[in-house]
């Protein structure tokens, strides 16, 4: 089918079937052990963590792919205090609607995802690129290495882009993605999520993350989500159902705001005003 031929052509990922037989109970016990140690350290006065651990063995693929040495603290220099500039030359307005990229309507629950991107100082991140990608409503990615025997949707690719507004807002219309199985351990399932790729005003703020949906029963079982040891930090990745964003007889609405790390630039007063 033409869809597969075109869209799979740049795919190249080789996924190893490592550690596929560990049961969920074992993975959950490993997660619980790391979290218990973290809770004790906070109780004993350690600073709460806000980012995932990169050394988190319940996520098996991380074992050989995390640096073992502490990152080196450095003051950002010229180029690091700026980000590449994107604009409407780069992204067409229609790219933010993932439901109109083909001849027909994709299957699934139509949703609007909207939010605001702020930097650590509370400034809106203006006119900056946001990219998303996701599985379809059946939990299948358009990717040749995704072997999950769930149907592809010829009307859904699952890729979107937009440029934030002057107030730092982004908005996408899409389909609620399904959960899907993966090979981390036996009977491993990822909670439904949308991947987000974000730029700030400084290249040091560059980030990629995942947005989740409220109340997902797979949260506790997922070593990627649980690599964030702090519950408050984990909650920051979960969108909120927002009935004011829900559109009459059209789509349900989810709000998800994003905070980047602090900018290290010297800001002019007029730029600083919110």
């Amino acid at each position: 089918m033409g869809l597969e031929k075109d869209l799979f052509s740049n795919s190249h990922v080789i996924e190893k079937l490592d550690a596929a037989q560990a049961p969920q109970d074992q993975i959950s016990a490993e997660i619980a052990s790391v979290h218990a140690a973290y809770d004790k350290s906070v109780h004993d006065g350690a600073e709460p963590e806000s980012q995932p651990r990169i050394d988190f063995s319940p996520y098996r693929s991380s074992i050989l792919r995390h640096p073992t040495k502490d990152p080196h603290h450095v003051d950002p220099e010229t180029i690091e205090l700026w980000s590449p500039a994107f604009g409407h030359q780069d992204v067409h307005a229609l790219e933010s609607d993932l439901t109109i990229q083909h001849n027909g309507e994709p299957l699934g629950e139509r949703i609007i995802v909207r939010g605001r991107i702020l930097d650590g100082g509370g400034r809106p991140v203006r006119n900056q690129l946001v990219e998303i990608w996701q599985a379809n409503s059946a939990g299948r990615y358009i990717h040749k290495r995704d072997q999950h025997p769930a149907p592809l949707d010829p009307n859904f690719t699952g890729v979107g882009r937009c440029i934030t507004t002057d107030d730092g807002f982004y908005e996408f219309t899409t389909i609620k993605p399904g959960p899907y199985p993966w090979k981390n351990h036996f009977n491993a399932w990822r909670p439904a999520h949308i991947h987000f790729s974000l730029f700030g005003t400084d290249f040091t703020q560059r980030m990629i993350t995942q947005m989740y949906f409220p109340g997902d029963p797979l949260f506790a079982l997922d070593p990627i989500y649980q690599s964030i040891t702090d519950q408050k930090a984990r909650d920051r990745l979960v969108a909120t159902y927002d009935h004011n964003l829900t559109s009459h007889e059209w789509a349900t609405g989810y709000n998800w705001d994003i905070v980047l790390t602090g900018s290290n630039r010297t800001w002019m007063e007029d730029e600083d005003a919110e």
Binding site: L64, R65, P71, A85, G262
Partner: protein, 188 residues
Amino acid sequence: MSEQKLTATPGQTIGPFYGYALPFEKDNQLLAPGLPGSIRLQGTVTDGAGDTIPDALLEIWQADAEGNVPQQTGSLVRDGYTFTGWGRTAVDNTGNYTFTTVNPGPTEAGSAPFISFVIFARGLLNKLHTRMYLPDDEEALARDALLSSLPEDRRRTLIATREADGGLRWDISLQGENETAFLTYPGA
């Protein structure tokens, strides 16, 4: 300096399935190959066992040849001539990456030119930042504040090698004996 009034949202791994979403046509060509001043920047990405990582995504961000910070839009619609200073590439099946770019100039008189790298991969739970320094100006490298603060075995992981064709080679190791020095910034 950085002021952190709000707590940053956590990062997460890029996962395995970005290949149909993030790469775009000429994403790794900051200018067209063969244009005057263009060089090839290449290397490998390896894990703690020394195996190559075929499912990593790299981005570079750099000054132009004169040391100016580009603020031109148009990276996603490469015209081959507008230098936007930013590029992206998916590491290939054999763990190699390639960019076509220019040697960045020093952004301040006497400073050591470098290219800012950010690294994403399946199995890597958050992004990694680092710098790749040009090897040519040894005096500037010797004066550089970051390089001077690193022990020799860490310092050398941040300096590229100049190849016979004028290009640059720089290998990235996420873990192990030659683990690349990764960076963190105030407010991160």
